[in-house]
Amino acid sequence: MGNSPSAFTADPTIFLWAFFWLAVVATVGYAFALLYHWIRYGYMYPLVWIMMPIYLVGVVVLIGAMLGGIATI
């Protein structure tokens, strides 16, 4: 009895998922604010049309990298 495994054995990745969702929520907030400003005032600021895909590709790659990190554990 005393040596039986606990019924509450935690998934070791649950901690990482918490960080993952924290990063996703923060990124959604930033992405919304950035894209809002870039699209709304883009007619005055031509560089935003170059920065926008760079930013979005970076976000997708980094979120993918976090998922990759979790997957390898």
């Binding site: 990482l16 960080f19 993952f20 990063a23 923060a26 990124t27 930033y30 992405a31 604010a33 950035l34 400003h37 870039w38 005032y41 007619y43 005055m44 600021y45 560089l47 935003v48 920065m51 930013y55 970076g58 976000v59 980094l62 979120i63 990298a65 976090m66 990759g68 990190g69 979790i70 997957a71 390898t72 554990i73």
Partner: protein
């Protein structure tokens, strides 16, 4: 550049931003913040191990490196947007100040009308200001607020020249031209 709220007959003479060093200084600060955990965490983990091999999965390091990079990535673009969206537009009638204060706070206002400019002064301060040629531009006007300062402006001597040229071209005699807008 196009601006939606120009007056009739108003032409853009020059668009001025803060010097690139202002952005570089902030990005450099972010780079330091970005790198700190990559130096501190191995030391911290090493001290926990106390000489014994500590089995840290590679995926864990990869995950947190990506997490931290994503946070800094967001901050970097937010900072760039803040820098890029701050500008002064010198037109044939006035100087317009466009100021982005973080997100969702944007001021577009007439800083001063050219016909009220009395004196323009440039001040370069500090080593970097003198080496790279940026500083502040002070404009004395005859308006109710008598002095306007544009900080960390790139090439203030050229901007001063452009303001004086525009004033001379469009308002040959002081006080001529359109009356100031209410509240100016």
């Amino acid at each position: 550049m196009t601006l939606k709220n120009l007056r009739d007959g108003e032409k853009i003479v020059l668009v001025v931003r803060k010097h690139w060093f202002v952005l570089f200084r902030d990005v450099f600060g972010l780079a330091i913040i970005f790198l700190v955990p990559f130096f501190l965490l191995p030391l911290f983990v090493g001290s926990l191990a106390q000489g014994n091999p500590l089995d840290v999965p590679a995926g864990l390091g990869f995950f947190f490196a990506s997490f931290w990079t994503l946070i800094i990535w967001n901050l970097l673009f937010a900072r760039w947007t803040d820098y890029y969206y701050d500008l002064w537009i010198i037109t044939s009638q006035r100087v317009i100040d466009v100021e982005q204060k973080g997100f969702f706070h944007r001021d577009v206002a007439t800083l001063f009308n050219l016909n009220y400019v009395q004196d323009v002064t440039t001040v370069l301060t500090g080593i970097f200001g003198n080496l790279l040629g940026f500083g502040k531009l002070q404009v004395q006007t005859a308006a109710s607020k008598d002095e306007f300062v544009m900080h960390d402006i790139a090439d203030p001597v050229r901007v001063e020249h452009e303001i004086r040229e525009a004033q001379r071209k469009y308002y040959p005699a002081p006080g001529q031209g359109e009356p100031p807008l209410p509240g100016e």
